[in-house]
């Protein structure tokens, strides 16, 4: 059985790093160099189609983590990638308060297509001046069903905590 969790969020929010931290394989990336000035301020490459990582659960079950491109111009890929996902992790760069709101149109997009549990990971909490998760929740005006968790995507334990909370939310809906 193949299962899928969607990892989404704005450009340079740490989606590929998040998947890489927990995947048992090197993340399969579809990257291109970036050319626009504002994108270059963050990094010099970007996911254009998807990233994916894998966690083997047992001999019959595999969990895939699919990372979406962050820019709105790739939303045609979001449509394809969201099909059949069990849940959604939305990453935001909480070290840059002004960039948190970029997650909003992404959340609106998936909300209108995917009625599964979501968690928001306030990433880069290890950086100075990072906005606390409760501020991220306020900026995004999230409903009570969406938990915002502190996250450091380079730290496997932190990534595990985010995924486990998402799975626990899914479990609550199954009870």
């Amino acid at each position: 059985m193949k299962l899928k969790i969607l990892v989404t969020g704005p450009y340079a929010s740490g989606k590929t790093t998040f998947i890489q931290s927990i995947s048992e394989i090197d993340v399969v990336r579809t990257e291109e160099n970036v050319t626009s000035a504002w994108e270059l301020e963050e990094k010099n490459h970007t996911t254009v189609a998807m990233d994916y990582g894998r966690i083997t659960i047992d001999e019959d079950t595999v969990l895939y983590l699919f990372g979406t491109p962050g820019q709105l111009r790739f939303d045609f890929m979001w449509e394809i990638l969201c099909r059949g996902a069990l849940g959604v992790v939305v990453l935001v760069d909480s070290a840059k308060g002004e960039r948190i709101k970029e997650a909003r149109p992404i959340i609106d997009f998936f909300y209108s297509r995917l009625n599964v549990p979501y968690v928001v990971a306030a990433n880069k909490q290890d950086l100075p001046g990072a906005w606390p998760p409760e501020y991220v929740k306020t900026v995004l005006d999230l409903d009570d069903s969406v938990e915002v968790l502190p996250c450091v995507a380079t730290d496997r334990e932190s990534v595990k905590r985010v995924l486990l909370r998402l799975l626990e939310h899914i479990m609550e809906h199954l009870k």
Partner: protein
């Protein structure tokens, strides 16, 4: 300390952050060589003033002056201070550029004084009537498909604000099922006005986004999710 730029956050959104998280501390705004300091207690505006010297903002004497005026029931002094507070807040609400930072601090104000603090909710609702920049409104009311519901303690918040007739119409139309587009149709109000009202209500905490109905895939079972949880725990 949390920092931001007023190009990215409307002053109302800054107030929302501090109100919703019931913050106590000092908001420092630097805009065109003018410094505005706002003291918050449990998310309520306790005091505000402006100065051209940043050092002024970190002296406690201003808030002490305010508390003393209340305690000794010096009406004239209180009214004088209140007009300074309102002028400073008005300056802040007009700021479209500059930076802000918020530093938590411990101000102790006894409950008797809290009655005299300014309602952040009232300020937000009143100021949101002047927000006509669609880009700002769409930061919060980002989709016509959004659905809102009233918060549980809506009556308590209503006691802190003064709504106009069209704002009551919008509030009555919010039922946890109607979308923004349907509220526009239901109330017959212009779309911009409805967005303005919803923006104010959301920032003031009168309403919140309604939770979505969750549909899980048929293949999912409790046993399968437990298996995933155990595997990830063991990684």
């Amino acid at each position: 300390m949390v920092k931001g730029n007023l190009k990215d956050f409307h002053p109302i959104e800054v107030l929302q952050l501090l109100r919703e998280n019931k913050e106590t501390g000092i908001l420092l705004v630097e805009s065109r060589n003018l410094y505005i300091g706002m003291y918050f207690v449990d998310g309520m505006v306790a005091y505000a003033f402006k100065s051209d010297k940043v050092s002024d903002l970190f002296t406690k004497k201003f808030i002490d002056e305010f508390v003393t005026a209340v305690k000794v029931r010096d009406k004239e002094r209180f009214a004088n201070l209140l007009s300074k507070v309102k002028a400073s807040i008005s300056e802040f609400m007009k700021s479209k550029e500059g930076t802000f930072s918020f530093e938590k601090a411990n101000f102790f104000i006894d409950d008797g004084i809290k009655e005299y603090l300014m309602s952040t909710e009232r300020l937000i609702v009143a100021e949101s009537r002047h927000v006509d920049d669609e880009a700002v409104l769409e930061r919060k009311i980002s989709s016509p498909e959004m659905v809102f519901q009233k918060v549980k303690n809506v009556k308590e918040i209503l006691s802190k604000v003064q709504l106009e007739a069209d704002e009551y119409r919008v509030l009555d139309a919010i039922n946890g099922r109607r979308t923004v587009a349907e509220i526009v149709e239901f109330t017959g109000l212009p779309e911009l006005r409805v967005k303005q009202i919803l923006y104010g209500f959301l920032c003031a905490g009168l309403i919140k986004r309604a939770p979505r109905r969750i549909w899980l895939a048929d293949i999912l079972s409790l046993g399968l999710i437990k298996k995933l949880i155990n595997r990830i725990r063991g990684l």
